[in-house]
């Protein structure tokens, strides 16, 4: 089942990414991200299960990070899988992933508030 797991936890939204994040998953991912920022204070995206990711879905995550930055809401990509990390690296987004996954600091990096 390629579904995006939605969890609300004390005002914050946790999105569990599915294994297969192909192009078709980009529109629903964007809808979830938009809704998350609307109903919650911030979004934590769990990328641990990702086994395939399209550029479209990574682009959606980048757009979400820029939204968080401009709106002052929280955003993080937690536990990115090896595949997700490699894909970001291929796309020249390893710096972005480091910033938003908190790997550089050993914990999820929330946007500046």
């Amino acid at each position: 089942m390629t579904t995006i797991a939605w969890q609300e936890r004390s005002g914050e939204i946790r999105l569990g990414l599915p294994a297969d994040l192909d192009l078709a998953l980009a529109p629903p991912l964007i809808l979830n991200l938009r809704r998350g920022f609307t109903v919650g204070d911030g979004i934590e995206v769990d990328g641990s299960a990702v086994e395939y990711v399209s550029t479209a879905c990574i682009q959606a995550l980048v757009a979400a990070s820029r939204h968080a930055e401009s709106s002052g809401q929280r955003f993080a990509v937690t536990s990115p899988s090896r595949v997700l990390t490699a894909a970001c690296s291929d796309l020249g987004l390893d710096g972005w992933l480091r910033q938003w996954s908190g790997r550089e600091w050993g914990r999820p990096q929330w946007s500046r508030t």
Binding site: A26, P27, I30, R34, T55, A56, Q59, A63, R66, L91
Partner: protein, 722 residues
Amino acid sequence: MAVEGSRVDNLGQFKQTYFDECAELLAIAEAGLLRLAPGTFDLEEVNTVFRAVHSIKGGAGAFGFSDLVTFAHEYEAVMDAIRAHTVPVSYGLVEALIHANDALGRLIDHARAGTAPPPDLIAAAVTALRADSGHGLPAAVIASGRAPAVASTAAAPESPRRSFALRFEPNPDLLLSGNEPSFMFRALARLGKLELGCQFDALPALTELDGEKLYLKWAGTLQTAASLAEIEEVFEFVADDSVIEITPLAAGGAPAAAVPAPATPMRSAAPGTVAPPGPPAKPPGPPVLYGSRDEPPATPVQAETGEPVQAASGGQSIRVDLDKVERLVNLVGEMVITQSMIAEHLRHLPPGQHREMLTGLEQLTQHTRDLRECVMAIRAQPVGSVFQRIPRLVRELSAETGKDVVLVTSGEHTEVDKTVVENLIDPLTHMIRNAVAHGFEPPDEREALGKPRTGTLHLSARHRSGRIVIEVADDGRGIDRRRVLERAVERGLVPPGVQPGDAEVDDLIFLPGFTTSEMVSSLSGRGVGMDVVRRNVVALGGRIGVHSIPGEGTRFVLSLPLTLAVLDGMVVSVGAERFVVPITNIVESLRPRPADLRRLVNLCDVIQFRGQFVRLARLHRLFDIPDAVEDPTRALVVVVEAEDGAQLGVLVDDIQGQQQVVIKSLEPNFRRITGVAAATILGDGRVALILDVAGVHELSRRAGPGGGRLAVEPPSQTEAAA
């Protein structure tokens, strides 16, 4: 077995398509090479040539044409070295590349015929290429007697690593076509050390984001031993609609200093694909300049703006067997005749009855006309396909004669029927040869006359009065009328003591053995062949005229029908005969009053028409037709205009009506008749002659005041000679 047979058929079909594409690609490559010159050059031109050769090589590899692959690789390697700026462009190299292009064409011919190429064919071209480019080619190519085959092109381990700056701005819809940038970058990373940065500046807000579109862009550097071609191959499937820049960097990271970085992004058609042809119809554009010897422009430029010429953007197209189009054209021709026959029958119905049928006929007529235009548009081709051969011809002639010539072309997009295009090549070649060999003075002589050392040759095409008019104009010495007349007298073509007018003397050059100069060279031979030019043009239903001003130059004007199949005409009657006047020539029809008619003493009859006098041509006298209306005030005058603007009043008994007619050439079955362009079959089954307005004008001029010449006249001197 059936399946096997089908596979063989398919392979043959694919091969045929491949060879057809090869012809186009060779022409593209040659056009690009002719614009290549030392100094600054347009990298996109080099890319175009490279891609053309690369595509030929790719197909050759697929079909197992190993000689073709070998040689194309050698050729391609030189183009790759040029665009990587490791081989400087010299005139010698351009010549060698042009010959390599020819050699490639011959190899393709051998592959098509299934014959082995002569052993020295490849060797000679390769030797020439290496003589001019050897020091800049990759070592593997230089060292090997035969270049590596396609599969091993990536292998060049001893090649030094080079740095390239990369920029990739994908089309927003790139993802929808199944392409995935991360895979492409992974492939790039396998070629060397890739450092890539992602740019978000075009990324919309999350609330505006379309999940299936791609907004990210990338820029970075690649250190690699791979060739530019190998890097481009990574972008092979996205090159059509994405912006891709691959710029070689010097050691310090700056763009390679020897030549400027590309001014425009490489919007490349992917290697291995054929760029679709340009849009079917475009208005004639501003002229394009081509240099020939000393200072050729790096790229063709718009003569008016100096801006580089942009390649025509492509539309979608399919290949259709020409026979199928021919069948379609013939069927439309038959349909036009049938429609005329129905119209003829319905014309005799009692007035006011069968209205639905008459309305239906009107619609049928309109649809037939639309269908005819659509079908003819399929056969229409821009004359650019002929024009693109001319720069090379001028270049060669210029080199051989030592004359500096710049070619300026305009109207390449002017469209004309395929048959006409094909038949234009020989006349144009003759005229260009004639102009360069005899029209232009040598540079020193030009300088002494106060002219620029470099001569200018204008080649233009345009539509006028439903015909295509092509002009070849030089700014050379003009026709030496004294010598031409002397020669005509020597040959007994002009009686001694007679002094023809300038135009008539100029016209003599279309006789066999005449030339605009008495100079004889290997280029033009004796007599240059203007007689052949006129014969070919006339055979196409066209005309050729010459206008010359001593010391200033000569201008040849060629007028040809746009199509050789169908035309809109006005059917007129003269006695019991019917003629068709092409609608495009008709200005007005009128019944003159007695006061409108004049006879110029010993000259001709004229009619006063809108404040000017127009020569009156009595068709029944010119064509010896009995029982026609003699009195113009009881007949009708159709005022017509020829392509050169000359007007003529054609006296006819009556106008029968307008209709499309199918052109049936007279020459194959009878012979050429002055004043008659062709024949047609009318709806009632009668044969009618289609008038050639300029020919009627000429006939009327020669007939004099009495106007009594026979239609099937003794050929004039010019025609007899032709």
